[in-house]
Symmetry: C2
Subunit: 405 residues, 2 copies
């Protein structure tokens, strides 16, 4: 009787759970202090009225035997698949069949579970810093090897993304099999341009590698030559799986919906991956709530689109407030243009967890220490635009006030 011992290799708690615990302990000891949370990438604006209306209608349908819906189709209702296909792909000149789109309860589940379809001997390449789920799930499944003194896993190929390379990973100098890319990037907030992404697609096609492309933040893109989908790049259908989420696009963090695209043209080691993901999902997942899927569909209605843009504009304004405010008081800042994230250099090369403690204890502002995203994140810090504008302004004022001293 053995547990999966790979679990013992990782810290027992997930990064954001650790931060939550620290904040909870501080709040308990200092109940009078007003904390401003710009740490976890969680939204604060209410859902778009179109989504609210769609959910009320769907709830009413569930109350009537004539319109009641039981088990959803495993990969999503046609009404939602059609809306996704039409708006996120056809409108951008990308041809997909609905059978290439898999609706799920979110990009975290899918980027975590996608490892099920790959063998354990694949060489995995990840950016550093990176969204912890990519690394942790590979550690848990046994694909990582052991952790060395620098905090790096022996079997993982690290691609540092720092100010030195403008936060763009370099094409690997060796063969790798599975490449995790996230653009606009979490945590750095930096985008990738089409011509840069083309180099990755070419590498992957040449090497027979697969790119796991997390586009959860694409709705924040403002620049023209930044792709909203990897399939805007020629050749991507034979080498890339794309993950998208309604969490940041439409404030669905508490509603739970996303989708994953696995093109039929994508083969890995000779096998079509679409059928494998279909089998994985049909066996270990039972579809998304009907009510949630109706809410997601409403994101693509005329009203919904307009309302979503207003919400995104609100967060973009917050990102600018943070970016400009910190820049003006001497911080080196990145991101914020195509992203809700501001990535900053800690002052005087302060360790990122020390900076976390300082912001929490002196200013009652919660951010995320760069080191939590990987060794190359040390010396950086992430702030998010997902708070209220009032709180964002207050937090920036506190930071300016403190560091201007």
């Amino acid at each position: 009787m053995n547990i999966n011992e790979n679990f013992l290799k990782i810290e027992s708690s997930y990064l954001f759970s650790n931060i939550a615990k620290k904040v909870k302990a501080y709040t308990k000891a200092n109940p009078d202090k007003e904390i401003i949370r710009l740490g976890i990438g969680d939204v604060t604006r209410p859902l778009a009225p179109a989504c609210i209306e769609a959910m009320h209608k769907a709830v009413d349908e569930m109350a009537d035997e004539k319109t009641f819906r039981g088990y959803p189709p495993e990969y999503g209702y046609d009404f939602l698949l059609n809306a996704i296909n039409e708006n996120d792909y056809k409108a951008r000149g990308i041809e997909l069949d609905n059978s290439e789109i898999f609706v799920s309860d979110g990009a975290k589940s899918d980027t975590g579970n996608i490892g099920d379809i790959f063998s354990l001997d694949n060489k995995v390449a990840i950016c550093d810093p990176v969204y912890p789920v990519y690394v942790d799930t590979n550690v848990m499944s046994g694909r990582s090897g052991e952790k060395n003194a620098e905090g790096k896993w022996s079997n993982i190929y690290y691609m540092p993304c720092t100010a030195e390379n403008n936060f763009l990973p370099l094409i690997p100098t060796q063969h790798v099999d599975i490449i995790y890319l996230c653009f606009p990037n979490n945590p750095t907030g930096m985008p990738i341009k089409k011509e840069e992404l083309k180099k990755w697609v070419d590498y992957a096609n040449r090497e027979g590698a697969v790119i796991l492309y997390d586009a959860a933040y694409e709705a924040f893109i403002t620049e023209d030559d930044v792709p909203h989908s990897i399939y805007e790049i020629e050749g991507a259908k034979t080498c890339a799986i794309e993950f998208k989420s309604f969490s940041k696009t439409a404030g669905f963090t508490g509603v739970r919906c996303g989708y994953t695209v696995v093109p039929h043209d994508l083969k890995f080691g000779g096998t079509e991956l679409n059928g494998m993901w279909a089998r994985r999902q049909a066996t270990k997942f039972n579809g998304v709530s009907y009510i949630t899927q109706r809410a997601a569909e409403a994101v693509y209605s005329d009203e919904g689109k307009k309302q979503i843009q207003e919400i995104l504009a609100y967060y973009r304004k917050n990102a600018k407030i943070i970016y400009n405010g910190l820049r003006d008081c001497g911080f080196t800042v990145y991101g914020a243009v195509d992203s809700p994230y501001v990535w900053l250099k800690t002052p005087d090369n302060m360790k990122s967890w020390d900076f976390f403690d300082l912001l929490l204890e002196k200013l009652q502002v919660v951010g995320t220490p760069g080191e939590g995203f990987g060794p190359a994140g040390e010396g950086y810090f992430r702030l998010t635009a997902f708070g209220t504008t009032e709180n964002t302004e207050k937090a920036v004022a506190r930071i300016k006030n403190y560091f201007a001293k």
Copy 2:
């Protein structure tokens, strides 16, 4: 670059997906025929008014920034954990801490994903016939070995459940590590009594094995000495994980909510499993929709409880209609007392897929062939009570009419 080759061992499609395809093909060829579906265990009654009301309220909260909710707690909101703990456990004399309960999007996901925390060299015991997810997920992860000519996997310990043993598996005559038990059983509809389940708890504690106890159908129990939770059995907290679902209890197949209990006292190979499941869920899952959790909470309100019982009574009546109707025209039938399932012997030892085809083509009634649940299911067939009473009566009349000839 290698895929997980274990995926190639299983049929490319899940049992119920295959049935859906067969039915779709038949419907296309015979558009004028009226099909009655008593195959998949999917409910048809609308949701309880208490759940509808709770969801409308929760949707409205999501529309207001003062009450908006973002990321849910990874393991469930306290309001739902409290309701589950109070009603499903404390009320039955079982003491659990809320940290032992993990809310999820359903028992299918959890029984599928639980394998993540165990190593691949554990010996798995399953009942035969069995809910396909237990077997398929072990095949996909590489715990099954190879399939032999009889359709059995070489590394899996099979426990036949047939009329000969009154559908109760025998305690293994060798050491096994992981035991899947589901009672009231899917597909046979048969319950286990407390004194019988005690034998399993004693075996597991003696062998250091873990019981994965699927109690998704417990709401259908009518007999007194049949346990609603495995933790009613002394010693179960040191050897059992329990899976429960709102799908059948409260008609949530299209809403998606369930929960899993991993007691802190449960160790496997010396390691506490609670922390491992907590880490798995925090890393690869992002919690359940706030709206869904409010609906689940409402199941435990005074109104909700009453309404749920009315719905359960409706399905119980259907189960009796099927059971009595088929018995009266000469079928040998099982289940239906503590379960929404009727399990029957096919007439004249007909192969179960042949019987499926006969019912579909001659009577336009859809059931599930026993063979789809495992080799020992051959010669049996499952009908479910989840249709409307009108359709159930019609289906039974068609069967009676045909087999009385």
